[in-house]
Symmetry: D2
Subunit: 178 residues, 4 copies
């Protein structure tokens, strides 16, 4: 869950965001991008490949903050375009109901989710994308995995902050947990 353009928007200066982060839960969205067949069955899930400031490679969901006066749908579209590029053709769900929420706590172990920087509460959605995905910004690449691969220990151990658990919940929600 990286912070990119939001603070450049003028709503909240970086130092203000840092100040708030230690005081309140911050609202996020998490998105699991998926490929579906012509009957809506999920065939693949997309994971971003990132390199942390410590050089460690990890795989991540599309994720980011909801801004002041920004609708959740607009936040979903913005982060999807930020991470997958402008021609991914995402189909944002018709219902605002997330399939679950993920509570990222600054202390590990309170919930399955952890973010040392902050207390973030994320609304999680599965979003089919039909177009070409061209990761931008700090993501190196986007790789598509089958549900079996995505739930495998190899992929799961490359995910951080509990996003591996969230990914398995998404697979369960779409009936594709192995």
């Amino acid at each position: 869950m990286t912070e990119m353009t939001e603070t450049a928007s003028g709503w909240l200066a970086p130092e203000e965001l840092e100040s708030v982060r230690g005081r309140m839960p911050i609202l996020y969205v998490d998105v699991v991008p998926v490929r579906v067949d012509d009957k809506g069955v999920v065939t693949h899930v997309g994971l971003l490949l990132r390199i942390g400031s410590d050089g460690v490679v990890s795989r991540a969901l599309v994720s980011g903050r909801v801004l002041y006066r920004e609708r959740v749908r607009d936040a979903l579209m913005r982060h999807l375009e930020k991470d997958l590029g402008p021609v991914a053709l995402p189909q944002v769900p018709v219902t605002p109901q997330p399939f679950t929420i993920a509570e990222y706590f600054p202390a590990p172990g309170v919930t399955p989710y952890h973010d040392s920087r902050q207390h973030a509460v994320s609304l999680a959605y599965v979003v089919p994308v039909a177009g070409d995905c061209r990761p931008r910004q700090d993501a190196l690449d986007l790789i598509w995995f089958t549900p079996e691969e995505a739930a495998s220990p190899m992929v799961q151990q490359e995910m951080i902050g509990g996003q591996g658990v969230l990914l398995k919940q998404a697979l369960a929600h779409v009936g594709r947990l192995p």
Copy 2:
């Protein structure tokens, strides 16, 4: 909820279906076809215009039976194609979870749903359709309504068997109940 090609499929002769109908709950699907904007907000819902054997005009959801050895997704696709034609481009949901179930009882008043022919239990889904809709078979037309129109008494009173209630539940699920 009309019975069309299913009994012609060879799995169940019409007289057999009649016999079973008085003995067991029959599994159905109900679909609310919708138009969405580029952020997934429902802008219109589609209702079929039907004329009953008694000459009465009514408005109806896409609806029909799930067949033996037919997956629910396949039933959704089959009924959508039957009622909206082959180029409607429906986006069947990624999750098999229906937004609700509708229990149509042969006696009125047990639930909000009623079907004098049978006890049917329907799995209800909202399905965005992006293409051209050309109703076939016994439907005269497909009309698109705004959420406000769809929830209005004028449209509601033209729906039968409790499908008006189901339509309002669908609007609530997508955050568009007026």
Copy 3:
């Protein structure tokens, strides 16, 4: 959605909360307390009776902020106890998935929800309560309404900020929208 004990908790001084309110979406929970029969059918919904600083009477859901390092479940329990008293015996849902989210915008008309003080995003839950309810603090009373009464224009027009719409969505979710 009133602010009570939270700012007394030491995590955020009132003036800090005011400062943040104009900068970020604030995370809330909304709860529809319900009475159910022995088969889980909702028979009544509970609404708080409040008197605003302008003397206007209104009806409201149980509602409030999620605090820093507070789990959503704990926030639900805290606000339920705050508004319904210590012996209401609420049955908080097993799933963290809200039945919907409500996006309260400071400007009216962006969504069905409005809060002139802030941009609040609320996770909404239906919670059966089995015990005695004794409203505390700023609520005058808690009144139980049938689903039909709750959806009626008389009750709906006494609810503010879009909570009447949220209440109808809750009724739809439990299959009790008239």
Copy 4:
């Protein structure tokens, strides 16, 4: 998914049920009984211990058919009482929406679910039970497992027909998938 008292009800003779089973999907309910703490967190899931006609021991969910003119809620209550006894005090969910559906096909491999006797479509619910559970009829015992135990290979391999997958989906739905 065993057939017990239903055919004794007079609605469908055993030979008729056999006849229908090869012709139509049969409507079922699957229930995952759970223990929760005072904040609604699932702490344990209950599994029935059964011995098949072949002497093989297996673990199973509470499961059974929905009868003609029986509401799904009534079917849930009936099967819960049948399998857990009269003082289990189940809290049937307020929403009729199942957390997922399970499509048991007579041929293995079509879906994750398999039932050689029939094509059954099951509505799946998680139900907290607060009272004493005393298995009756063909179940030997009811054992409570932590979420970690329930998702472990040892328990999973003792479940048949895909119910292990359904159990993991239930754990994901309540935010307790390890």
